[in-house]
Symmetry: C2
Subunit: 315 residues, 2 copies
């Protein structure tokens, strides 16, 4: 297990800089009044391909040797990682194959193809996914880029909070959503080295609270198939992300589906930005548990803005 | 009829600066590819109170003498002007009364009250509105701030394109929505003085195309009660705005309701920002008529982001 270091993050920042946005930090007096703290939203919904995952995917793709790159990259993801890996591969001009269940939304398949990637469909089971994935790798020799349990990916995600602390002085805390733990691990990597006084909180849907239960239990607990509108947060922790979560996270807070939807609407309404449900989980947990943040300067990672406009969760 | 001048715009810019955002200009590679031009969106959806109308309202309110201000301000508007006038009055700490038909959406009444304004309800007819408005003014001596046929308001709206040309060099054209013509008039005021080579286009819903027909006919035509989802654009031109439109606008283009909805979805989807239907009319007309803009650098005024999330036009 290769644990990424501060130097890996700094190298990632240089490597991906030409291909990512230094996304803006936005504030809202209305939301500040609502929670009694000063919130600073790092808007990765404005990131290339609509999500922070462009950072990790680019770092992995751009760091490949010429020889590795010649065989392309592959992953399994029906979410932002697949789209972002296709974007990253496109920037380097190499092949990208994304394995997705045939039940995945058409919009997700279109997004991968829109960036020049190939979609290979499997059945909606882990065994089918693994079998199909193994076939693809055997046939192409493609490099596997895991959505989060990968030191290159975590080093890439870590560049987000490096920008945040350049943009906002004197933060007391940062809150980010947690699914597999890639963003939180990157946040831990950067802040534990560069700003160890900033507390790190993770935010998770109640209905997919495996990271919360893992954190309380002291070991990884994974659920089979949790259901939540925050569909980027269904996946379990893995050894590499567990390392960071168990070492550097102050606490994990959860919120219900209704609380997540309400927080999402508040962000859309008051900040005029389109954010996906996962991005609203931090605000939902802060509204639910305002005490630890009272009067503080709190960074929030808005992870992405890829939403199916035809199926909004409150419609 | 007092026609606002460049000096009025410059004075407005100084006067309102502490209370407005210099809103960001956003771009999208996807939208540029779609229309074959470089688009620069001036994002007044991020403006205070969610719309450019904060500019004109503030300029009117902050320019009042102490004596005038003591009696407060009043207007009739069930749209952004009412909300923005309440915001402006709140900044100065004076009274604001907004006359609205009792049929106006609760959210609009709440928005005015949320900024400290009073709502007085009338029947949904012009005669009732005028009668109730006259009563309010007689009782309070409040200063009437018309939503657009007012030199102070136009000078305020004119600050928007002054920012835009500071932010983006070498624009060939600017496209803004047209309803009563306040934003277009302000745009004409600024650009005709400071950047006369930039062509000015107005964009209007087909279903409320009175400005288009006025422009072609050479005199003001007003419709009684047009119906469009771009509800900020239903009102007719008035003498002051007609002066600017007839003198400085290159052309007025129209788009159908469906085209406006499609453009709105494109902006939400690709730019991750919440914009109201009126704001999507310029993009809708550019998609429909791309030829005049081919290869050009085109500014678009995104007028506001106040949308009822529960009633999206495509839902």
């Amino acid at each position: 297990m290769q644990i990424p270091t501060l130097d890996d993050m700094l190298a990632a920042r240089r490597r991906i800089a030409p291909h990512v946005h230094n996304t803006p930090v936005m504030t809202s007096r209305k939301l500040n009044e609502l929670v009694g703290a000063q919130l600073f939203l790092k808007c990765e919904n404005f990131q290339k391909a609509g999500a922070f995952k462009a950072r990790g995917a680019l770092n992995a793709v751009l760091g490949l040797s010429e020889e590795q790159a010649a065989n392309g990259v592959a992953t399994h993801s029906s979410g932002n990682h697949g789209t972002c890996l296709a974007y990253a591969a496109g920037r380097r001009g190499i092949r990208c194959t994304v394995i997705m269940p045939h039940t995945a939304p058409q919009a997700k398949k279109d997004a991968v193809r829109g960036y020049g990637g190939s979609v290979v469909e499997c059945e909606a089971s882990t065994s089918s996914r693994e079998a199909v994935f193994a076939e693809v790798v055997a046939a192409t020799g493609a490099e596997f880029v895991h959505p989060y349990n990968d030191h290159r990916v975590i080093a890439g995600q870590a560049t987000c909070s490096a920008e945040l602390i350049d943009q906002v002085e004197g933060l007391d805390a940062v809150v980010a959503p947690i699914g597999g733990g890639g963003m939180i691990s990157g946040t831990c990597l950067t802040l534990s080295n560069l700003a160890p006084n900033i507390e790190i909180f993770a935010a998770e849907p109640e209905q997919a609270d495996d990271a919360y239960r893992s954190f309380k239990a002291g070991h990884i607990i994974s659920d089979d198939a949790p259901s939540t509108i925050a569909d980027g947060l269904k996946v379990p922790l893995k050894p590499l992300t567990w390392h960071f979560v168990s070492s550097y996270v102050t606490d994990i807070k959860t919120a219900s589906e209704q609380e997540i939807i309400e927080a999402m609407k508040l962000i859309w309404k008051w900040m005029k930005i389109v954010v996906e449900p996962s991005s609203a989980v931090p605000l939902a947990t802060i509204i639910k548990n305002p005490q630890p943040f009272a009067g503080q300067r709190v960074g929030i990672i808005i992870t992405g803005g890829n939403v199916d406009m035809e199926k909004l969760p409150w419609a």
